[in-house]
């Protein structure tokens, strides 16, 4: 997803290394945010959302449309995020809700189908060609970090996404809703029995999870051009992140995301074609050593 760096090749190799570390960090925080969305949806609703990659893609396109209309990066980010949140809520209300009592495989199939519909809808309206959203003025150009230079916007991405992760953390760990969500991850039936409207919570969680992916989608748009297929690779990487971190675990998603980002980035410094293979190898290792993932709970399976 994030383009391999064009920078630093003429610098010393350690600078190249640091620069790749930064690239890994950018990719890592993005994956952490997207994976958090997937994992809280799965943890709370018990639904694996295969349309999550499409949500990421939708965020990018909604942001692109908003940017075309207003020329403002900030509005693009807000509009892209809100749009995907609404799509998520509509999807939960219209489709997912009817699948809670159906087998897990049906849920996977229907979200897979919905994801395809989203991708093809976007292709229908925007075409298959890559589109660009420029970085905002205040974050364009490059920044000198003393020992190396680095694209300013990528530094900004780390900050922006870190803030989003903190917001998500606060929502999950410092609010009543978050308490219910975390209790729901442990035991949704019990939460229901306590008289809390779980379906209302499910809808909101699905919306929040989708927003996390959508937000990442628009924030990433200036880093890598958007195409209708962009979500597919992201979805696969998100799966690996979640398997490494442990399904249903927010800290696991963050840790897994950062690990995956660095693996992808550092391996591609040596040989880009092996980065995915390396990521998979690490996932296998985690599965063999700790089948529940690094920070997985005893909760759902």
């Amino acid at each position: 997803m994030v383009a391999t760096p064009e920078l630093g090749t003429d610098l010393l190799s350690w600078a190249n290394f640091i620069s790749q570390m930064f690239n890994g960090l950018v990719l890592g925080v993005l994956l952490a945010l997207i994976s958090s969305g997937l994992t809280i949806i799965y943890g709370t609703l018990g639904v694996l959302n295969l349309a999550h990659g499409a949500m990421f893609m939708l965020g990018g396109y909604a942001g692109y449309a908003a940017y075309q209309a207003t020329g403002s990066y900030t509005i693009a980010v807000i509009a892209g995020t809100l749009f995907v949140g609404i799509v998520g809520i509509v999807m939960e209300r219209g489709i997912i809700r009817h699948f809670y009592s159906r087998p897990q495989e049906d849920q996977i199939l229907v979200t897979f189908g919905v994801g395809i519909v989203f991708v093809e809808l976007v292709r229908h309206f925007f075409g298959s060609l890559a589109l660009n959203v420029p970085a905002p003025g205040w974050a364009s150009g490059i920044t000198s970090l003393g020992f190396m230079i680095y694209p300013t916007y990528r530094l900004a991405v780390v900050g922006i996404v870190a803030i989003a992760l903190v917001v998500l953390y606060i929502v999950l760990y410092r609010t009543r809703l978050g308490l219910i969500v975390r209790a729901g991850i442990e035991d949704a039936g019990m939460v229901d029995a306590l008289g809390i409207d779980v379906y209302g919570v499910f809808m909101i969680v699905f919306g929040i999870g989708a927003m996390a992916a959508g937000f990442a989608g628009i924030v990433n748009a200036p880093v890598a051009p958007i195409t209708p297929d962009i979500g597919e690779a992201i979805l696969v990487q998100t799966f690996v992140v979640v398997v490494i971190g442990g399904v249903g675990s927010f800290p696991g998603a963050v840790l897994g995301g950062l690990i995956a980002g660095e693996i992808l980035s550092l391996t591609s410094m040596i040989n880009p074609s092996y980065s995915q293979v390396m990521l998979f190898a690490v996932m296998t290792l985690v599965l063999v050593v700790s089948p529940r993932g690094l920070l997985g709970s005893q909760g759902r399976e």
Partner: protein, 619 residues
Amino acid sequence: MTMARRSSSLQYWWPDVLTAIGLLVAPYVLPSLGFSQDTMNRILVLGLFGIGFDMLFGYMGLLSFGQSAFFGTGGFVTAYLLTSTGLSSVVLGLLIGTIAAAIVGFLVGLIALRRTGIYFAMITVAIAEVFFFLENSPLSAFTGGENGLPGVPAPTFYLGFTTIKVGSGWSMYGFLAACFLIGMVIARRIMASPIGHIMVAIRDNPLRAAAVGHDVKRYKLLVFVIAAAYGGLAGGLLGVMQGYMPPDAFTFDTSGQLVMQTVIGGLGTLFGPLVGAAIWLYLRDFLQGTLGLGASWKLALGVIFVLLVCFLRRGVIGAFVDLARSLRGKRTADDEEPGVIPEQVVTGLEQSRPMVAARSLSAASDAADPILQTRALSKRYGGLVANDSIDFTVRRGELRGIIGPNGAGKSTFFKMLTCEIQPSSGSIVFNGSDITGFGVTRVCQLGLTKSYQVNQLFSGLSVRENLTIAVVAELRGPFRLDMLHRVENVPGLDERVEEVLTLVNLSRRADVPVSGLAYGEKRRLEIGLALATSPSLLLLDEPLAGMSPQERAETVQLLKSIRQGRTMVVIDHDMDAIFELAEQITVLAEGAVLVEGTPQQIKNNVTVQEAYLGGVHEA
């Protein structure tokens, strides 16, 4: 899936004959409906690809999004051998490609099958993606990278008197149709074999499939490998058909399309992928060409797919089957009204008794020697001690009762005995050998099994099919590769199933699906499943729970009638029943053995009374 019992070989073969006729007739019919030759060839390749996937997902319930890995592996191995090495036999190339895909499937299965459900789906996606990357760059010297491998030859057959050179025209269709037919015949054999039945049982209730003595993990791996082999063959055929092996065979799209086509056609039918592929490709041509939708055809297919998953989960074939059944059902519905048949009173059973002989109970063995012995068996969950150092001995031929207040640790104790859970410490000796940590499958094969407190039935199957699964485990052992043998030909199967049916008084209900049974009947089937494995030691976890007084009386009679020749341990809260049944009673309280004795001793024991009415003195 329906198990055609005692079907004649004519019934057994007619679907194959019909398939062959259909494949022969298709070239005369389909072109006039708008199917091109190329489209028909593709349908066959995808249909063959899907047969394996349908076995994996439709029958065994494992949803893989990574089948492209095997499709691509088979395709590229075949294509590479035929284009870059001296290999000239296309059939041999296809065979090697299929084997390569099967080997890759074995290795991938070792990893992916460590988990189930969504983990399995996610891991297969990730693995398939890795294959795409491997093909695309590190292995591009062999695979041609983004260019694929052009120049894959078509086969030539020397038949002595003539030479058939498969090429363009209908000869390629004929070749592919022959491959499809062979693939379908083999798949139908597998589904009619014990393994086919076990696959469905694993989908329905993997826990019970393991508990009646099937090595679930190995069967899963086996079917995963079979599915990979079908994928590999289909991939090889794709290259042969096009004369070119495209790199996109490895993409996630390939796996996704396979899933969608199978679901559209109908899961668990073997023909679903063929029908699904036909619908898919026909609609693609129709939407793209006739309607001029261009690239939006996939949008329309996506919408159709979502609608099908929402409203017609059994796909097109399933919808037709349901329709046919409901038309026929109107006429026959009255025949099998559940509950109309008066329950035969169970007391009549005594005569038809112990035909299901418990194994390894030699009459010569000393009646007093212990069949089961636990030493200091403990189970701790964190700080909670569920079972605390339990010493427990059951003599051969004994009927032991275990009672105790709720939370005394009775069920935990049973779970440790059947090796469903690992004890924290202590050991279990069964028939003289230490079975601690053996696992539930192995223990069942040794002759120790349990009927569950909460029914663990194969709910999609009939009573007879349920018992078949259990009997087959005993007759075949935990794992056997009898893929091409019909389940009906397993020696002794029918007799055993009939015996158990009689024993648990379900003979008249033998062909009723589990969902059509009354609660008491389900409870008896639960006991029947355990009995069907011919245990020498049978554990019964609250066999009377939730029963009406009449059902209780009947079940107590049933338990009495089956005790001949076997050792039984019964947990229940129904004191009257336990006092009536058991010769010796063990009382558990707070995870430890409180007291042991005859029913009379237990009745009069002060500590037992206190344990049950514990609060009285403190109050």
